[in-house]
């Protein structure tokens, strides 16, 4: 990364949703290691969130995604702790989404809680973010999704529904907020990063006749975070509402 870009990253303020678990943790750590201040929102970790220590590059903020008001309060707390926001990264998929389940075994309660709950949370998040991003005179939103939304997937119906809903939410937001200088994009990643290891290989075979061109499914910190960083730079300001398939060359439908 050029030095001037490195400097810019060092002053950037980012929120990562689900930055303590799964691929989001690797992304958040990489962003912080590259110099950004990172606030992590992670539902389900009651008491873990704390006031932002000013000398720490990465910290958790108390998070509640149970209502629009609660999401708004979580975002406000994170933005205040950061002193503004330049980029938002979404990587939250509750365990119920990433565990294999046959559709007919999904109860109505599970569908409502996991599938609709994730879509509700994302909807509320972007609505809470646009004000702070406008106040920052623009910025970047990145949804990190598994490609199962594009391909469909047996055993992971809810995950695919959420992933594709988020991808098109990004497009809608990108269309709405381009004139505000807010770019909204999607990083479509290997599903093997998100699901239980036993199911990863099956999913890859369901998606493609061949192995990934790069020979691996990708590492969140080494392979995904740099692209997210790029999307947060001025150099990428004209890229919005796009889907960047960052799976090492596995699924090539776009």
């Amino acid at each position: 990364m050029p030095l001037d870009e490195k400097r810019r990253l060092a002053t950037s303020r980012r929120i990562v949703v689900a930055g303590t678990s799964g691929p989001g943790a690797g992304i958040a750590a990489a962003l912080a290691a590259d110099g950004a201040r990172v606030a992590v929102l992670e539902p389900g970790r009651d008491g873990q969130g704390n006031a932002a220590p000013q000398d720490e590059s990465i910290f958790e903020v108390a998070t509640d995604f149970s209502s629009a008001a609660a999401v708004g309060a979580s975002v406000t707390a994170a933005v205040e702790a950061l002193g503004g926001i330049d980029q938002f990264v979404y990587a939250w998929y509750p365990d119920e989404l990433t565990g294999a389940t046959t559709f007919t075994d999904v109860s109505e309660e599970e569908w409502a809680r996991a599938c609709e709950g994730a879509l509700d949370a994302a909807w509320w998040l972007v609505r809470a973010l646009i004000g702070p991003l406008r106040a920052s005179r623009g910025g970047s939103i990145v949804f990190v999704v598994p490609t199962v939304g594009l391909t469909g997937s047996s055993g992971f119906v809810m995950l695919s529904v959420v992933a594709e809903g988020l991808r098109v939410l990004a497009k809608g937001c990108g269309r709405c907020w381009g004139e505000d200088g807010v770019a909204v994009n999607t990083l479509a990643t290997s599903p093997a990063l998100w699901v239980e290891p036993d199911h990863g290989q099956r999913l890859l075979r369901e998606i493609s006749l061949s192995v990934p061109a790069m020979g691996r499914v990708g590492d969140p910190g080494r392979d995904l975070a740099p692209v997210i960083e790029l999307l947060g730079t001025d150099e990428a300001h004209f890229l919005t509402a796009g889907t960047l398939v960052t799976d090492g060359g596995l699924w090539m439908g776009l």
């Binding site: 629009a68 046959t102 559709f103 007919t104 999904v106 109505e108 569908w111 409502a112 599938c115 609709e116 879509l119 509700d120 909807w123 972007v126 609505r127 646009i130 004000g131 199962v148 939304g149 391909t151 469909g152 997937s153 047996s154 055993g155 992971f156 119906v157 695919s160 529904v161 959420v162 992933a163 594709e164 809903g165 991808r167 098109v168 939410l169 990004a170 497009k171 809608g172 937001c173 990108g174 269309r175 709405c176 907020w177 369901e206 509402a241």
Partner: protein
């Protein structure tokens, strides 16, 4: 009943169409009946469903009107039960019902009620329809069809909530196609553009219409009509002609959206 211009592709099959009291759903229901299907008209306002059923009967077809609010699980189950009781089984469920898209809004201005209505009629109701129909579709090698939209592929600056839920439905169709294909069930989507009473209302305030944008991007230079333009595609997907088609979205919009 007017003579079909092609063989009766759905003779002896039973089809449920939700939201069939008007618009695209009515057009699909009439087309299915024309092709010999027993059609269950599932409509929230039963008086509208009764009118469509009466029209099918007047044309010499078989129809049953049932009151069905697709956001109520027991209503959807009852519609499937009614189809089975009256016609002996179910071969196809077409989930077309959706909440009105409302006025154009940016993401941050969409009323909460609009978002919730979209989620209920598209995401939750699709769950209800799929669960309720599964056993019958499995038994008879049937088909499940979801009505979605190009907005569910490319997003929308005017009706962003609609785009999100229609995308969710497309992914549901793809995943169910993978999960149910080995069981002999096909799952597909239709993404139509058709002039319906609901669209006519939306058109009064939408830049898509007021600025002529929709027509400019439509090579066939007209808005589709539910029965002659959209209905036959549903008939195709419900019929054995499409026996090797699953997990797909057929965009029926006069050529406006050409990403696939």
């Amino acid at each position: 009943m007017s003579a079909p211009t092609s063989p009766r592709l759905l003779e002896g099959k039973t089809v449920i169409v939700t939201g069939a009291g008007g618009g695209v759903g009515m057009g699909i229901a009439l087309s299915c009946a024309t092709h010999g299907a027993n059609v269950v008209i599932a409509a929230r306002r039963i008086e509208t469903g009764d009118e469509v059923a009466a029209e099918i009967t007047r044309r010499g077809g078989n129809a049953l009107s049932v009151r069905c609010d697709v956001t109520v699980s027991t209503d959807v189950t009852a519609a499937v039960d009614a189809a089975t009781d009256r016609f002996g089984g179910l071969d196809c469920l077409i989930h077309n019902a959706v909440a009105p898209v409302g006025e154009p809004h940016k993401v941050e201005d969409v009323p909460d009620a609009t978002w919730q209505a979209m989620m209920s009629t598209a995401v939750r109701a699709s769950y209800y329809c799929a669960q309720a129909a599964f056993a019958q579709l499995k038994e008879r090698g049937g088909t499940f069809i979801l009505l979605t939209s190009a907005a569910g592929v490319e997003g929308s600056p005017y009706i962003p909530a609609y785009g999100v839920v229609k995308a969710a439905q497309r992914a549901l169709a793809k995943s169910l196609a993978r999960e149910w294909g080995p069981l002999g069930i096909r799952v597909n989507c239709i993404a139509p553009v058709a002039m319906t009473p609901a669209m006519a209302v939306s058109a009064q305030n939408s830049p898509v219409f007021l600025e002529g944008r929709l027509m400019d991007r439509t090579p066939l230079r007209r808005i589709g009509e539910p029965e002659p333009d959209i209905g036959p595609v549903a008939v195709f997907l419900a019929s054995d002609l499409s026996r090797y088609v699953t997990g797909q979205t057929i965009v029926v919009d006069g050529g406006g959206f050409t990403a696939f």
